[in-house]
């Protein structure tokens, strides 16, 4: 039995992605590098998404962190194959005992502020393109003509803008960013 794909997607966006700030904060405390955090995050999303294709879990947040712990524990086991069991057990216990803080993505005015800050931080050309597309409502062709650049260049700037704005949407909130 497979659920209609759109339900799963909606569920994933509304119930799983909203916990990304906490998930990433949780992973950062356990993993040494940014790349590893991103890698593990993508792996966790893939696992929870595949699982939800057959059955959507009742409590997305609980399930998300259960998967996160499993993935981290597996990593520790693989890394510590040669190390003593004591070290591995200590790391594993610290993963299992840690409770993620209960915050989701920013909303309302805070979200707008975050998007604004992220837009303002984009390189000039990229920022102009995103403004014209997103706020002034011009088409890609219109932006290309206005700035006298190719449409594919416009598209590249938009792609960059999408990634940066996504960081604003899913990033840890400023007010509690001190512990990072």
């Amino acid at each position: 039995l497979r659920l209609p794909i759109s339900d799963v997607k909606t569920w994933f966006v509304n119930e799983v992605l909203v916990h990304e700030p906490d998930l990433v904060r949780f992973l950062r405390r356990k993993l040494p590098s940014f790349d590893e955090v991103e890698d593990v995050r993508q792996q966790i999303y893939a696992l929870i998404y595949n699982k939800s294709l057959t059955e959507i879990p009742d409590n997305a947040r609980f399930y998300l962190f259960a998967i996160a712990r499993n993935v981290l524990v597996d990593r520790i086991r693989i890394k510590n194959r040669s190390a003593s069991h004591l070290i591995a057990d200590y790391d594993i216990n610290s993963v299992l005992s840690e409770e993620p803080s209960p915050h989701t993505i920013a909303e309302g005015r805070e979200l707008i502020d975050r998007l604004e800050a992220s837009l303002a931080a984009l390189p000039d050309r990229c920022q102009e393109v995103v403004r014209l597309r997103k706020i002034d409502g011009l088409s890609q062709r219109e932006v290309a003509r206005l700035l006298e650049i190719s449409e594919s260049t416009v598209e590249k700037h938009v792609a960059t803008g999408i990634r940066r704005l996504a960081e604003a949407v899913y990033g840890a909130r400023q007010t509690i960013g001190l512990d990072e």
Partner: protein
């Protein structure tokens, strides 16, 4: 699982979101994208994550970055009036005429559609029972849809935003073709071409509506639904005096006819939920009723004292 790096996955996903947003994906691009998405759940989720973020970024319309009206449109300009062909003095004369402030009112009576050429080269079509007041000068292009429905084709002006007020809402065009309908405390905006912005006059609750989308605004807020350009065109059939239905209920269809005709039509009981489609002339309600009664003999027609027509179904349970 493949061994692609997290950054690579995100970069590819972002490129697909950008192309889809620009509408530049070809059939084969779409096939390639879907294959990429299906090949690994990491691809699918990375893509979903960016699609959602880019949609959420629409909230930027509520930010301090105001939309700028001085952006020249790259849309092909509408044919200007003949005055301009002569150039020189003729063109100057035409400019002088346009720069004078003019504030006429426009209206269309029951069952009528009225086409209007506006002073700035834009045009609009008013639907049945519509009232619009206007204010046009060199710095202003303001219309107030007091009631009814109208279709606007906006000639882009480099310096002057085209604004249609409708109740508490304000619709700002950025170089586009769209329609607005007011009824029952609701506002429906359908965009045929380009993009319009809807807000409550002070930039609060601003949303962008793109071509092929319909927005429904009421006291409960603004919702936007992508229905596709074909359906938007269908919704605009009234400009040709036609009503176009696709699986609409008889209750809705009769309400539509009643917008155009003095003689009203009422559908009683479960018959109102019967669905049907077709294209009809808005003013030829009788032809519609004839068609209905000849295709379904169980439908009875009664003429009420005020001339209105009541349709009911013989087998329908008593109300």
């Amino acid at each position: 699982m493949t061994n692609s790096k997290p950054d690579e996955i995100e970069a590819i996903a972002a490129a697909y979101v950008a192309s889809a947003d620009a509408g530049t994906l070809s059939e084969s691009d779409i096939v390639a994208r879907d294959a990429w998405l299906m090949s690994d759940a990491r691809h699918e989720t990375a893509h979903l994550r960016l699609v959602a973020a880019w949609q959420i970024a629409d909230m930027l319309t509520q930010s301090k970055f105001e939309p700028r009206a001085m952006i020249p449109s790259a849309l092909p300009p509408r044919k200007l009036s003949k005055f301009f062909i002569g150039g020189g003095a003729g063109a100057l004369f035409a400019m002088a005429v346009i720069l004078l402030p003019v504030n006429p009112r426009y209206s269309a009576g029951l069952g009528k559609q009225v086409a209007v050429n506006l002073p700035d080269g834009s045009s609009m079509t008013l639907n049945s029972e519509t009232e619009i007041s206007s204010q046009f000068d060199k710095k202003t292009r303001h219309l107030d849809l007091e009631k009814g429905e109208a279709y606007f084709r906006v000639n882009h002006d480099a310096a002057v935003p085209f604004i249609v007020k409708a109740g508490p809402y304000r619709v700002t065009a950025v170089g586009t073709a769209f329609s607005i309908r007011r009824y029952n405390e609701q506002l429906v905006v359908a965009v045929e071409q380009g993009t319009v912005r809807i807000d409550q006059g002070d930039g609060v609750h601003a949303r962008l509506i793109h071509a092929g989308a319909v927005s429904n605004a009421s006291a409960r807020g603004v919702s936007i639904t992508m229905i596709g350009s074909e359906k938007v065109k269908q919704n605009l059939a009234w400009r040709d005096g036609l009503l176009s239905f696709n699986q609409s209920s008889l209750a809705d269809i009769s309400a539509e006819f009643n917008r155009y005709n003095k003689k009203k039509i009422y559908v009683t009981g479960v018959l109102g939920q019967r669905r049907m489609g077709g294209v009809f002339k808005a003013t030829e309600m009788d032809a519609f009723v004839r068609l209905l009664t000849t295709t379904d003999r169980s439908i009875t027609v009664a003429t009420l004292p005020d001339g209105a027509i009541r349709l009911s179904q013989k087998s329908a349970p008593p109300q």
